[in-house]
């Protein structure tokens, strides 16, 4: 139940591999877990108008995003038998090659963790008011468009 409480999601800048490792380590004491699934979003160095994306700058409407994230989390616990779930999203600048999204689900058996993780990723991308501005190598910028 404690897992369902409001939790910190937004992280200033990129999500480090060390942060992910620490998050994994914390679960070694939960001995009813048999499977973890992790999704990581990494900034791609796409080409736009012949210029390379060198970073994405993320902003969000926090007052609206947080209750939506809480609702997504609640729905996910109802839908899947999870031990715990964690969602982290960057705000501010994240360079190409760095991690901007970290979704982490754990369950006794693999199916729940695997399905819950992509369920969360889809809902986060679709429903959470976050915007990415792609910063190009010529310092111009383009608002990102999720397909």
């Amino acid at each position: 139940m404690e897992e369902k409480k409001k939790k910190k999601v937004f992280i200033d800048g990129p999500i480090s591999a060390q942060f992910i490792a620490d998050s994994i380590s914390k679960h070694s004491s939960k001995k009813n877990i048999g499977a973890h699934n992790i999704f990581l979003g990494q900034i791609r160095q796409d080409k736009i108008n012949d210029e390379q994306v060198i970073a994405i700058e993320y902003t969000c409407y926090k007052e609206m995003a947080e209750p939506i994230l809480d609702a997504i989390r609640e729905d996910c616990f109802v839908k899947y038998p999870l031990t715990c779930l964690h969602i982290y999203h960057s705000l501010g600048l994240v360079n190409a090659g760095e991690i901007c999204l970290f979704v982490f689900t754990s369950s006794a058996h693999r199916q729940a963790a695997i399905e819950a993780c992509s369920y969360l990723v889809e809902r986060i991308k679709k429903e959470v008011p976050i915007w990415g501005k792609e910063i190009l190598s010529d310092t111009s910028s383009v608002w990102k468009n999720n397909q």
Binding site: Y58, E63, H89, E127, V128, W131, W143
Partner: protein, 83 residues
């Protein structure tokens, strides 16, 4: 008689819509319902007409015309692009 007293609302805007409005938030006067407010905004910022916009009232998505009260927070949200 659809005369109503104008109210004062807080408008917040994000992404490309913030660039069009020219500020993260402004206070505006409008009639106390979402449709009138939208019309006013598009009159004042014609570039909004070409944009895909979702509206939120007090942090809740508003998919139809709803009543606004003094001090409501209206958010102009371009398509989300998190993740």
């Amino acid at each position: 008689m659809n005369v109503s007293n104008p109210i004062q609302i807080k408008l917040v805007a994000f992404g490309v819509l913030q660039e069009i409005i020219g500020a993260p938030s402004i206070f505006i006067s409008c009639d106390p319902n979402l449709e009138s407010c939208k019309e006013n905004l598009i009159k004042q910022y014609p570039a909004l007409a070409k944009q895909a916009i979702q509206y939120a009232i007090n942090h809740q998505l508003a998919s139809e015309n709803i009543a606004l009260t003094n001090g409501s927070e209206i958010a102009l949200l371009p398509p989300f692009s998190g993740g």
